[in-house]
């Protein structure tokens, strides 16, 4: 893979070129940041209103007790999957293209999981007692959380995932923060010096660092695959038709990686443009990201098909009724949007020519993100809205609070991401140096080329 990449820059350019983001950014940066903060404020105001008024305002009512907030939760956890996949699994597979995108894919993971983590709290309404049902905290009732519940597993899975992703990301940052420390002066030097733990880059430090990084990748690999499996058990372990299927864990993991890769691509394009990173995040790297998107999209396509087939083949009339309703009932719009966005449009990525068309790929990746949100909406809402008591059946429409808080969560995500882009290197400088041509002496290069002939 690296042989095909035509590097026009050398190791000496890396720090200077990548750290331009520490200088004053383009005005469009402030516009984007202001919009994000505005969305966050709208979200907070809506949440305050909802907290004082009650959950009815959000549109959550019997039998739909899991509404758009849970959709958002699953959506954001899914987005958060690409980062650690790219940094851990692709690291173990020695896929070199990861070195150019892993840093902000990891950052994206962390901010996405931070967004996801808000939703269980928002969803329960009374945020201030949430810690008691989530974590094993001693209380006056002398009761513990139910360790047999997938919801409690989920708390453990998501908080472990957030912590490990954060450690992994920060560990990668340490040598880069030391690079910044050695370039800046005054107070900034002091702050980056503290943040880099006094990293010096000795051969010994690198030796232990590499060993640690490998182990962290090995630990994070099963974690990535487990987190969305655990999220899927929130549904699959319930008896609800449409949820109670064994295909859910792999199906959710593939969907999560699909949405994550699409989000990585969606963020790469503007970041690459804003900070002039075209020479570092090369076309070949983008191409590899799109190929991964295509792969997971076809897995998701297969999962949709097999889920439908099994609903029919199992002969379970309740299961089949839900699926019929999804495809041809009042929620057909959500279903077909999902199918087209996640399965049909990404098929364009089979063509190398279309993959090279960045504008088109960008649009398709945004559509995949939309489609993945609709997928969760489809799974959660269309199953719940007609439960076991036909008398309570009805139609579900997202409430205004749900819509505003969903947009607020996008603001929250982009706000953190933009702040990250301003103060940290968006491309891992120490790792991209590894995939660039090695700085060998002219003598050595000559010797090598003679050896080849």
């Amino acid at each position: 893979m690296s042989d095909e990449v035509k590097w026009t820059k050398s190791m000496a350019d890396v720090n200077r070129d990548i750290l331009v983001n520490l200088q004053s950014p383009h005005p469009s940066y402030y516009v984007a940041l202001s919009i994000s903060i505005l969305l966050v404020l709208i979200g907070i105001a809506t949440l305050a209103w909802q907290t004082s008024y009650g959950m009815g305002w959000a549109g959550i009512t019997s039998p739909v007790y899991w509404g758009v907030y849970i959709v958002d939760f699953v959506f954001w956890v899914g987005i958060g999957h690409a980062g650690t996949l790219i940094s851990a699994i692709l690291f173990l597979f020695r896929a070199q293209w990861r070195n150019s995108v892993n840093r902000f894919a990891e950052a994206m993971t962390i901010f996405a999981v931070l967004s996801a983590g808000l939703f269980p709290l928002i969803h329960v309404g009374r945020i201030w007692v949430a810690a008691y049902w989530m974590f094993p905290i001693p209380n006056t009732n002398n009761m513990w959380i139910n360790m047999r519940s997938p919801l409690v597993w989920d708390v453990f899975a998501i908080s472990t995932y957030l912590t490990v992703s954060l450690l992994f990301w920060y560990m990668g940052l340490v040598p880069d923060l030391a690079s910044i420390r050695d370039r800046v002066r005054g107070l900034r030097r002091f702050v980056y010096g503290i943040m880099s733990f006094g990293w010096r880059g000795t051969a010994k430090q690198w030796h232990h660092y590499e060993a640690g990084y490998g182990f962290l990748a090995a630990l994070a690999t099963p974690l990535v695959l487990s987190v969305h499996s655990v999220v899927s058990w929130d549904f699959a372990m319930a008896l609800q038709p449409g949820w109670h299927t064994t295909i859910f864990p792999p199906y959710f993991v593939a969907g999560a990686i699909l949405s994550g890769c699409a989000m990585v691509f969606t963020l790469i394009i503007p970041v690459r443009f804003m900070f002039r990173l075209e020479e570092y995040i090369k076309k070949e790297h983008l191409d590899a990201c799109l190929k991964l998107t295509l792969l997971t999209s076809t897995i998701v396509f297969y999962a949709y098909a097999i889920e439908f087939f099994i609903a029919w083949y199992s002969g379970n009339p309740y299961e089949w009724a839900i699926f019929e309703k999804r495809a041809a009932g009042p929620y057909a719009f959500y279903f077909w949007t999902m199918v087209f966005c996640n399965c049909i449009f990404p098929l364009a990525f089979w063509s190398k020519k279309l993959r090279e068309n960045l504008a088109l790929s960008f649009v398709i990746c945004i559509l995949i993100n939309v489609g993945m949100w609709f997928e969760r909406y489809n799974i959660i809402l269309s199953s719940l809205v007609e439960d076991f008591i036909p008398g309570s059946w009805g139609h579900f429409q997202p409430g205004i609070a749900e819509i505003l808080i969903t947009f607020g969560s996008f603001g929250w995500f982009f706000m953190w991401f933009l702040i990250f882009c301003k103060f940290f290197p968006v491309v891992s400088m120490s790792e991209i140096k590894l995939i660039m041509p090695k700085p060998l002496s002219p003598k050595k290069i000559q010797a090598l080329s003679q050896g080849e002939h």
Partner: protein, 170 residues
């Protein structure tokens, strides 16, 4: 390291010359306490330095196993303290398969912390007074620092002959 060591710094532009220099100086006894710095982790440098496998792995293993025990212990202790007798289960017989998830997550969590602490410990990190001998060592130059010698010494001449583009006293 409150008092900073003095010595010489030799900068190399090329990786292969740097590796040869490491291999040469680590065999000699007049380079005691030398340090090699690089902007990133080339495996060639690791081979040239002849390191043994990093002991960070024991930190990972022990912390991970501790995590497994803590995860299961947590779930079992709560089961014992507040049995939830549902689904025809008898109180006192814990449903271990359900606790595998908890044990798994805590294994990863503790293992990750153990790895990080191992890396920090063996790399002597968390050092606010780190001695930065050459700022370009985190940018694009490979650096060898030899404490206690001067720029005119025999050691400096040797490093120069191995391809150093610059020798400085620090």
């Amino acid at each position: 390291m409150s008092k900073k060591q003095t010595g010489i710094v030799a900068n190399y532009q090329y990786l292969d010359e740097f590796c040869t220099a490491i291999e040469t100086v680590r065999e000699r006894d007049d380079f005691t306490g030398f340090e090699a710095f690089s902007p990133t982790s080339y495996h060639e440098i690791e081979h040239a330095s002849g390191f043994k496998p990093s002991p960070v792995r024991f930190f990972t293993l022990i912390a991970g196993l501790t995590g497994t025990c803590i995860g299961f212990a947590l779930a079992l202790a709560m089961d014992w303290d507040w049995p939830i007798v549902v689904g025809g289960k008898t109180a006192g017989i814990p449903s271990l398969p359900a606790y595998v998830v908890i044990g798994f997550e805590t294994t990863i969590l503790f293992g990750a912390f153990g790895t990080i602490f191992g890396m920090l410990f063996f790399g002597r990190l968390g050092n606010p007074q780190a001695h930065i001998v050459e700022e370009r060592a985190t940018d694009d130059r490979f650096t060898i620092f030899v404490p206690g010698v001067t720029a005119g010494s025999e050691q400096a001449t040797l490093l120069k002959s191995l391809g150093a583009e610059e020798i400085k006293s620090v």
